[in-house]
């Protein structure tokens, strides 16, 4: 009987080469049909023709950070990183007094530290508000000065990365609570509140940001009495807050509408007041749902701060453009835009990555 049973195992056969391994992967993913094969070849051809010249320009033929514009112009085959070397401090800090530029540098560090700390959910406690208040006070002291022996620097001289960060962080921080109120107001049963919120949101969303900025910077001074002026940076900041609040309110409203009616009724059944209900039951769920559209707004808003260039404020893009208008350094716009593009990308990509993590953490209960 046992003769029928093979007692010695056969040697393991490798699966056919065309079903596993890199070749199979290529076949099933890149060459699985004739049109995909053609596309693959076309894309490869494109990459082969584009990447070597780009790398050559970017690195191989490039001039170092200490090169001069004359040298770069004589041999224009590569990037001229001397432009960044020469203009780095101007692009990063704008017109801030040269000897005091450690202050905006420290400001950037304070902001990044605050933002990184805020990402940790262990710090999401009421006392962390005090940390923020302290951080912002420190930033105000660093940027304005005038106390502790620091020279006073008026905010017309602020520029570069600190300005971009201040506009977007303060803008978003103020706009966020406002937008929650607007979203709640829009869903309110009280007609006056509802009409007010709907009108505000639709009015602001109906005009381009650029026209709001123009209104704030060009029209407003004409309405004020002669000699009375509201600070230009503040005007831009308020325009940004108004704009961001309207957009975020709509993102949050989406979250509110996704909460099942039973949640509202259960909260009412527990005898919670309106604000208790919102704070403890509805908003925590609604905001978690609204994370993707909110982060979308954050990211686009961070980049939109570059529009302040049209009202004569030098944000990161503005300083790069102004640096290009130096008669000795004209025409190096590829280097300038690539450089600030990388800075923008780092910020936006971190936001996006963090929001994905947050979404996973907050939506654990919903995962199936």
């Amino acid at each position: 009987m046992t003769d029928n049973v093979q007692s010695v195992g056969l040697p393991d056969e490798r699966p056919p080469a065309n079903t596993v391994g890199p070749i199979a992967w290529l076949r099933s993913n890149l060459f699985n049909s004739w049109y995909n094969a053609i596309l693959t070849i076309l894309v490869l051809a494109l990459l082969v023709s584009a990447i070597p010249p780009f790398v050559g320009w970017l690195l191989v033929n490039a001039h170092g950070f200490d090169s001069t514009s004359t040298v770069c112009r004589q041999d224009a085959g590569g990037a001229c990183w001397g432009f960044i070397g020469e203009k780095l401090r101007f692009i990063m800090f704008g017109m801030f007094p040269w000897d005091e530029q450690w202050r905006p540098l420290l400001t950037i560090c304070v902001f990044i530290a605050l933002l990184v700390a805020s990402c940790d959910r262990r710090f999401w406690k009421p006392w962390f508000g005090l940390v923020w208040a302290a951080g912002l006070t420190l930033v105000a002291i660093l940027m304005w000065g005038g106390v502790f022996g620091l020279t006073y620097v008026e905010n017309t001289l602020w520029g570069g990365l600190p300005l971009t960060i201040i506009l977007s962080v303060i803008g978003l921080a103020v706009a966020f609570p406002v937008s929650i109120l607007l979203a709640l107001g829009r869903r309110s049963d009280m007609p006056a509140v509802k009409v007010l919120c709907v009108t505000y949101i639709e009015l602001i969303r109906g005009v381009p940001l650029i026209s709001l900025l123009f209104m704030a910077s060009v029209m407003l001074p004409l309405f004020l009495p002669n000699g009375v002026s509201v600070d230009k940076l503040l005007r831009a900041q308020i325009a940004f807050i108004m704009f961001a609040a309207a957009y975020m309110a709509e993102a949050i409203r989406g979250g509110l509408q996704a909460i099942p009616k039973g949640q509202y009724e259960a909260a009412d059944g527990l005898g919670l007041s309106y604000w208790q209900k919102m704070r403890k039951i509805i908003l925590p769920q609604a905001l978690a749902i609204a994370i993707p559209p909110l982060v979308n707004t954050f990211i686009s808003f961070f980049k939109d701060t570059s529009l302040v260039i049209i009202i004569g404020l030098y944000d990161l893009l503005g300083t790069a453009k102004a640096a290009l208008s130096d008669p000795s350094w004209r025409g190096f716009y590829r280097e300038a835009y690539l450089f600030i593009g990388v800075i923008y990308w780092i910020f936006c990509f971190s936001m996006s990555k963090y929001s994905q993590k947050l979404e996973r953490d907050l939506n654990r209960g919903h995962r199936r």
């Binding site: 112009r73 224009a76 020469e86 203009k87 401090r89 101007f90 800090f93 704008g94 017109m95 801030f96 007094p97 040269w98 508000g129 005090l130 923020w132 208040a133 302290a134 951080g135 912002l136 006070t137 105000a140 304005w144 905010n155 017309t156 001289l157 303060i170 921080a173 103020v174 123009f214 910077s217 060009v218 029209m219 001074p221 004409l222 009495p225 002669n226 000699g227 009375v228 002026s229 509201v230 600070d231 940076l233 503040l234 900041q237 260039i309 049209i310 009202i311 004569g312 030098y314 503005g318 453009k321 102004a322 640096a323 290009l324 208008s325 130096d326 008669p327 000795s328 004209r330 716009y333």
Partner: protein, 339 residues
């Protein structure tokens, strides 16, 4: 967090209530301690920040000249970078005392926009640039040419007028952004590039791969007199700006510059004595120190020095004096008499 934000916001609201509306600008400026000057946010050679963030340029130097005439200090001036759209509201609303931002003086701006234009500090005009290898010597030879031009500007209209007036045809390549117009020209998409001559010179010097391969034709087909401006309603302030510009031009005519000005202190020429304030009267008439013109030339320079320093042949822009030479040398720079 909120309290911190509120404090920051409150500190940021700077409400500077000056004396009653219509008060003399000079008094306001003296009280404030500096001149508010509107400049271009970035025009090479006319108004641009250098690597250390200091403002430089021909327009910028006229802001400094006015500051010197009043305070004898070229740093008592605050620059407000303005976009093209912002510049008129800024001067109308009193946000700036002086607009020195490559602004073309025109009738409507003088009247309905409510500006008073000081003497012209730079005579510009639209011109043509062609590659040298075409061998074109005059704009009259451009019949049938392909012309790169920026859209939505008076440049485009002037171009059409010029070719029609001369019975010539052309193919426009109309592009919106200035950088791309330049790129199109250098890529060979058109035979001719047209914009203001100062812009052409700047492009040739700063953007052209080989500047010597391009020539700017002698014809100038439009008038663009660029002048500082103040708002209507304060004649004394207007006089100060106007005569500060004249002082730089007059100094060059006298042969006085920032280096040799002290050699003229004992000059017997009554014109020079009045100019330098050694025989008084001129300063008082303007409401300024008698040494105002001396200080201006000493600290900022005469017109020729300002021109050479910012846009002249020794700078990357390499502009020739042309129309901006003194009237005695065939240009248009002419100061009214100091008496």
């Amino acid at each position: 967090m909120k309290s911190g934000l509120l404090a920051a916001a409150a500190a940021a609201v700077v409400i500077t209530a000056s004396a009653a509306a219509g008060a003399a600008t000079l008094d306001t400026v003296k009280q404030r301690g500096f001149v508010q000057c509107g400049v271009n946010a970035g025009l090479p050679g006319f108004g641009n920040p250098d690597s250390a963030g200091n403002w430089t340029g021909l327009d910028v130097d006229y802001c400094r000249a006015v500051a010197v005439a009043i305070f004898n200090d070229p740093n008592k001036v605050k620059f407000t970078p303005l976009s093209a759209q912002q510049r008129f509201p800024a001067i109308q609303s009193g946000e700036v005392d002086l607009l020195s931002r490559n602004t073309t003086a025109t009738l409507t701006r003088d009247t309905s926009v409510g500006l008073n234009f000081a003497p012209v500090t730079y005579y510009d005009g639209q011109g043509f640039m062609v590659p040298k290898k075409l061998g074109v010597k005059s704009a009259k030879e451009l019949n049938g040419a392909t012309v790169c031009v920026q859209s939505g500007t008076t440049t485009e209209l002037n171009l059409a007028d010029y070719f029609r007036a001369n019975n010539m045809t052309y193919n426009p390549v109309v592009i919106e952004s200035n950088d791309e117009v330049n790129a199109a020209y250098f890529a060979g998409r058109c035979d001719v590039l047209t914009t203001d001559v100062s812009g052409l010179a700047g492009t040739r010097a700063g953007v052209a791969p080989v500047p010597e391969d391009h020539v700017i034709l002698p014809e100038v087909i439009s008038k663009e007199p660029l002048a500082p401006a103040v708002r209507h309603g304060d004649d004394q302030w207007f006089d100060i700006v106007k005569w500060t510009v004249f002082a730089t031009i007059q100094a060059e005519e006298f042969g006085i510059n920032s280096k040799n000005i002290d050699e003229f202190a004992n000059s017997k020429n009554p014109d020079i004595q009045r100019f330098l304030g050694t025989s008084p009267g001129m300063g008082k008439a303007l409401g300024l120190d008698e040494k105002w013109a001396y200080n201006t030339v000493k600290k900022v320079g005469n017109y020729g020095e300002i021109f050479d320093r910012n846009v002249g042949p020794g700078t990357p822009l390499k502009l020739e004096r042309g129309l901006n030479a003194l009237w005695t040398k065939g240009g248009l720079m002419y100061a009214q008499p100091f008496r």
